[in-house]
Each structure stands twice: as C-alpha cells, then as structure tokens.
Amino acid sequence: MLRVGIVSPGFRGRPRSSGPELPPGQYLTEDFPVLSAGPTPRVPMDRWEFVITTETSREHRWTWADLMALPSETPTVDIHCVTKWSKLGTTWRGVSLDTLMSDVDTAADYAFVHSYGGYTTNLPLADLLDGQAWVAYEYDGDGLAPAHGGPARLLVPHLYLWKSAKWVRGIQLRFDDEPGFWETAGYHDYGDPWREQRYQGD
C-alpha cells in the first residue's frame, strides 16, 4: 500500500486484517461503522412509500404494508465501504428488486436512486436485477435501525456501499446516467470494489 505519511512508532489502529477474500485496499471489521452525510431522517411509517418511476413518468408505488406483503428473501452478503472497511457474511431480509421490477415496463438503462433526507446515487439498471439488489428492512435478524438506513435501504452488495442508499425512497429509471450525491463530488460512477473503482477516473 502506498504510504503517504511517516510511520508513527507503535501505532496499530483498530484490529484489522486484509486477505485474498477482500477486494484490494479493504480491511475486515467486526463492528458496523455508521457513516452519514447528514441528520438521520425520521420517516413516519404511515407515510413511508417506495416509488419506481419509469422513463415515461409512469409510477409504481408501494406503501409499507404493500412492501411487507411481498415475498422477501434473506440474503447473506459481503459489504464493502469505500472508506476501506468490509464486513463479510452480513444477513438481511428484503424484497428483491426483481420482484419490485416484475411489473415495470421500461426500456431505460440507468437507475437514479433517491432517499428520504435528499441523498442520491446512480447505477446501471442491470446492476439492480438478477438477484443483485434488495430493498432491505431487516439486518442481522432485527428491524433495520435508523442509523443504518431504516426503515428500509437499498442493498447492492457487489458495488461499494455508498450505492446501497440508506432511507431509500424511490428509483427513477432513465436513459442517461445522472451522477448522484457522491458521484458529483469525485466518487466513481460505477464503483466496483474488485476493480477498486473508488474515485472518478479510477
């Protein structure tokens, strides 16, 4: 690893390990760091909704009750944050985007994800399908805590975790790839941890 500073004699930092099962530059962590770009949104459950808007402005809406009525899955996945920590074998419960998209008619290539509180992120629509993404509402057997994106977040574990938008509210399907919150500030449009695509130009 490229060292940018002088070594601080005797400094170890938090327990961490790297390994072949981790993407390049990542460290394994035992806890679950909370990263946030702003105050935690509080969303009353009776007003919570998830909306998929197509490129023709057709809307597909789900209330919380609608979401709970859909078949759910319990994926076990590895997650990788661009700030270099990774967590292996995390367990979730959520509704697959394949289920949510099953009745959606679209020719769009890209998804622009937006959340309660204003956060946004972008990714190709294909990366949300084929068992790669969920609207997740349980983590480790419990309801998803607000600090970790509850009541529901997007979960797209094959990309860096900033793409797994916390407090997800909806997805806009588009023909163009509109950069979101971190993508307009220097982070990569796609974000594949295995190719270490952290920043624009990587």
């Binding site: 940018v4 946030s36 702003g38 105050p39 220097g186």
Partner: protein, 86 residues
C-alpha cells in the same frame, strides 16, 4: 437536538490544503434558504466518504469536500456566495 455533528471549524485543515487563507471565518449564504453565517458555524458531518457541511438553519448541504489521492473536490453549489475576509 439534531444528530451528532461537528461544526465548520473541522473544515479548517482540509480547506487550508486548497486555499492559502482561512475559509472558516468566511461568511456563506445558503442557496436553499438564504441564511448567512460563518463557515465555522455550518453543521459538519465528518463520518462519511467526504466532508459534508450543512446550513444550521435548514440543514441543506452548503459545501462538500472529497479528498482523493491526487485531488480535492470542492462542491459549493449549496452556497450562493462566500465572502472571505482578507
């Protein structure tokens, strides 16, 4: 009380890597609500892939900064203007 956050004083070091003058004593005007105040008084959320500074009045983003290995990205679209004392 709002969620745990710091204030714009925490931006002093990162901004001083880019600018030759202190920017935390500059006055910013929020593009969303028009509130003015010292950059030092913005609400800063540092536990993120970058620094995010929000308006203490309306909590909209005023300033964002990301440090990559060879660049600093500074997004000021949330500020109408910055008045920097010289």
């Amino acid at each position: 009380m709002s969620d745990p956050h710091l204030d714009g004083n925490a931006l002093a070091g990162p901004l001083r890597e880019i600018f030759a003058v202190d920017v935390t004593s500059a006055t910013s005007r929020c593009a969303a609500c028009g509130q003015t105040g010292a950059v030092a008084n913005l609400h800063v959320y540092p536990n993120a892939p970058g620094l995010v500074a929000r308006c203490p009045g309306c909590e909209e983003v005023v300033l964002r900064m990301v440090r990559t290995p060879d660049a600093a990205w500074l997004d000021l679209r949330g500020a109408v203007s910055l008045r920097i004392p010289i």
